[in-house]
Amino acid sequence: MRKELKFAFVQTIPVMLGYIFMGMAFGLLFQNAGYNFIWSFFTAVLVYAGSGQFLLVDMLQKHTGAVAALVLMLSVQCRHIFYGLTFIEEFKKMGKAYPYMIHALTDETYSLLWGTKIPEDLDFKRTRLLISVLDHSYWIAGCTLGALLGSLITFDVTGVDYAMTALFIVIFTEQWLGNKNHTPALIGAAAGVLFIVLLGGDKFLLPALAVSVGGLLINQKRDERKEKAENG
């Protein structure tokens, strides 16, 4: 257990930096909207989503109705439906932790679970669970602390959230160096750049993901045809 915890902790340090400070920004905002640290704590435990929780504060302040809130939240969180595809078989092996692993599948945890090579002498399932639990606890700590003492931070932490950008860049570099097949990464990059230029940062994620899935499907058909031609 100790070896797994140590490994998981080191792997999640960048997420810790990002989540604590981003969580604090949320907690402070929530506090200013009239919701104290107890609200922040439970929101972080139950909702556990960056952009989703910022939307939540906005909805509470505008007194958005239940149905509208549901539709808005679903549309912001839609990108998640693509993440599970990678772990359908693997999460089944997680036993009792199966529903929790799904609940904890944020952008960052998804990237870490996929990008981290877990050494063979460690318990694979336990290490994966620890990565998810640690990330979640950083978020809970950040949100709660932000509500409690966010206004006390006086030193300038502008830019510390770049830790998560750097984490994604590192995982991208690793997969590029480790794979001969660069087509999926190029599809994603092209779709991402195209749609962010066309639609801007708020709206580009979903079309970029959908087009990438489309691109992968075309690519699969091409691979199959190639295989058939080679075999016969």
Partner: protein, 108 residues
């Protein structure tokens, strides 16, 4: 004043909606053996998703030179450092410190 019942309701709706989006592929494909196509997409999609997330982090807050340039400079340093040393924490730590220095001191 905080409207307690209303707030709890909206928070629970947010939690359920979020969990539903995360559980969706598992509900759709989790029961039986997933098809070859689903497995193929599941296997190769992460490379595309990571690329999209990188694009989002670099360009998601607008295209102004003062916004994008420090992100790109730090990003190039992260890549070079990582190809050279292959040390996650070094690449991420140094990249973040350089970015913080850039936005706090240079691109103010």
């Amino acid at each position: 004043m905080v409207d307690f019942k209303y707030s709890v309701m909206i928070i629970l709706i947010s939690a359920i909606a979020t969990f539903f989006t995360r559980a969706f592929p598992f509900l759709l494909f989790g029961r039986k053996e997933p098809s070859k196509t689903v497995l193929y997409v599941g296997k190769y999609l992460p490379s595309a998703v990571i690329a999209i997330l990188v694009v989002y982090c670099l360009l998601g807050s607008g295209f102004a030179v003062n916004t994008v340039l420090p992100k790109l400079i730090a990003g190039v340093i992260v890549v070079v450092l990582h190809v050279w040393k292959r040390n996650n924490l070094l690449s991420i730590g140094l990249g973040t410190v350089i970015y913080m220095a850039l936005v706090q001191l240079v691109f103010v």
